[in-house]
């Protein structure tokens, strides 16, 4: 077997070790009535690792379930981590989004990240889609006729686009004439627009001054 082959096998062995360790730890844990105490430092590290590896923003509750600790403890650790990230103020940020936590790059480095990923800022949504989305976000659950009323124009293609991009979801039918479909925003909407939850949207009444003031 070649040098590379041997090296590979060795890596394989190394990989197996931590697994065994974890298995052993879990066993120990279950022996003491399923109550395995992670040390403060371990908890700190484990929480960060889970947030890093999670594909979608991960909630404190999910983390607590995996680590078998109290949600409050996880909340504390996340608070500490968030402060660390802020203090470090380097390339990454820890942020709350769509009811969970996520590690992401800081916006100011987007040029370099894009250069590496060879990605361009993609044209996201047309004005018509954005307006339709705004109506749905603030009026949800809302029906197509109600959207038409506010926008003053039909928006079937905008709704189709928003559904395709999974930014909105059907929310059942309204018990009125014709039982029209009602729409609301999705979790994907929160993620794409960087929102913790819907309450983070500025109040629609705040736009009143903006709207009336100009004229």
């Amino acid at each position: 077997m070649s040098e590379a082959g041997r090296a590979k096998r060795k890596t394989g062995e190394n990989l197996a070790e931590p697994e065994d360790l974890i298995a052993a730890e879990v066993d120990n844990g279950s022996e003491i009535e399923g109550h395995h105490e992670l040390s403060a430092a371990e908890l700190h590290g484990a929480v960060e690792a889970l947030i890093f590896v999670a594909e979608e923003p991960i909630s404190a509750k999910s983390i607590a379930e995996v680590l078998k600790v109290e949600v409050a403890a996880v909340d504390d650790v996340i608070g500490d981590l968030a402060r660390e990230f802020d203090k470090r103020s380097a390339g990454l940020q820890l942020r709350e989004i769509a009811g969970g936590w996520q590690i992401a790059t800081r916006a100011e480095f987007h040029e370099h990240v894009r250069a590496y990923l060879k990605s361009k800022p993609s044209a996201k949504l047309s004005l018509a889609s954005l307006e339709t989305l705004a109506v749905i976000a603030y009026k949800q659950p809302v029906t197509v006729p109600e959207i038409l009323d506010i926008r003053g124009v039909q928006s079937p293609s905008a709704i189709k686009t928003l559904l395709e991009k999974r930014l909105i979801v059907a929310r059942g039918r309204k018990e009125t004439v014709g039982r029209p479909m009602m729409y609301g925003t999705s979790k994907e909407f929160l993620i794409q627009f960087g929102l913790k939850d819907l309450t983070e949207l500025p109040s629609i009444e705040d736009f009143q001054d903006l709207a009336g003031g100009g004229s």
Binding site: H110, E131, R151, S157, T161, G194
Partner: protein, 273 residues
């Protein structure tokens, strides 16, 4: 498409009002979002780029004249609105029904404003007939501002990146099958076969070509074949070997792909689409 829109806007500005800077910023609450050429075809978008609908056009006219939105000179605005529709007609731009409905509403409003008020009218009739329109315009404008807010949020959000997707068994089941996994299944069958077959009667010899054809048909008709089932059909040790070789051959020819959803799970043969 974008160039078309620009030229049209220029034509319109030139013929109506020398206020291009207002025209340029009308779209969303005083800011100019990029208008993205996309697959969406709201009829009006092709026609007049900036004006998504009659409310948009009306807002534009109100701003252009710099009149108070709470005290719209309905007569003047209606005239301008109708003139706009005529211009769109001359430019051969299809006018959507929504625009005509608004024109009718404006004209009705205009006539109501012209009528002297009935002094003996009930209280509710004393309400300014324009109120409803003003409310709609304000509501519309609020949501345009909200759309602008969403747009800037999305722009900021696009500058933030999360790490790339990890390769796991879940998102890529095809990586999991190695030759040894295949051999292991084969061993299993072979072992079972030894136990089961106690008496052999004169058998048909299946050729490699026939076996390949059999597997091909199975995959084609079922879409997905558990290799275990395929191997089990074999009547003899020799047939099993041929069956195994035919799997390898079809994989080599990229006619089928093998996948295993979990470690030590079933190995499925699938037609390569």
């Amino acid at each position: 498409m974008l160039t078309e829109e620009t030229t049209q806007d220029e034509t319109i500005n030139a013929t109506t009002e020398p206020a291009p800077e207002i025209a340029a910023t009308i779209s969303v609450a005083g800011a100019q979002p990029e208008i993205i050429p996309d697959s969406e075809n709201d009829q009006l978008k092709i026609g007049l780029g900036e004006f998504e609908g009659p409310l948009d056009l009306l807002l534009y006219l109100i701003r252009q004249d710099q009149v108070n939105i709470y005290d719209i000179p309905i007569g003047r605005i209606t005239d301008e609105y109708v003139r706009y529709l005529q211009m769109m007609k001359e430019l051969d731009i299809a006018i959507a029904g929504d625009f005509l409905v608004m024109a009718a509403q404006l004209i009705e409003l205009k006539s109501r404003m012209l009528l002297p008020r009935d002094p003996s009218a009930e209280e509710e009739e004393l309400i300014d007939p324009r109120t409803e329109l003003v409310d709609r315009l304000l509501e519309h404008q609020k949501f345009k501002a909200a759309a602008q807010m969403l747009w800037s949020r999305a722009t900021v959000e696009q500058a933030v990146f999360t790490r790339a997707e990890l390769e796991t068994d879940k998102n890529n089941p095809e990586v999991a099958v190695a030759l040894f996994d295949l051999l292991r299944v084969f061993q299993e069958i072979l072992a079972r076969h030894k136990e089961e077959v106690q008496m052999e009667i004169a058998r048909e010899e299946v050729s490699m070509a026939e076996m390949i054809e059999r597997l091909r048909n199975m995959v084609r008709s079922a879409g997905e074949v558990n290799l275990l089932h395929f191997f089990e059909q074999a009547q003899s040790r020799r047939e099993l070997v041929v069956a195994f070789l035919s799997v390898l051959e079809l994989v080599r020819l990229s006619e089928i792909s093998l996948c295993q959803r979990e470690t030590f799970g079933k190995i499925m043969a699938r037609a390569v689409s």
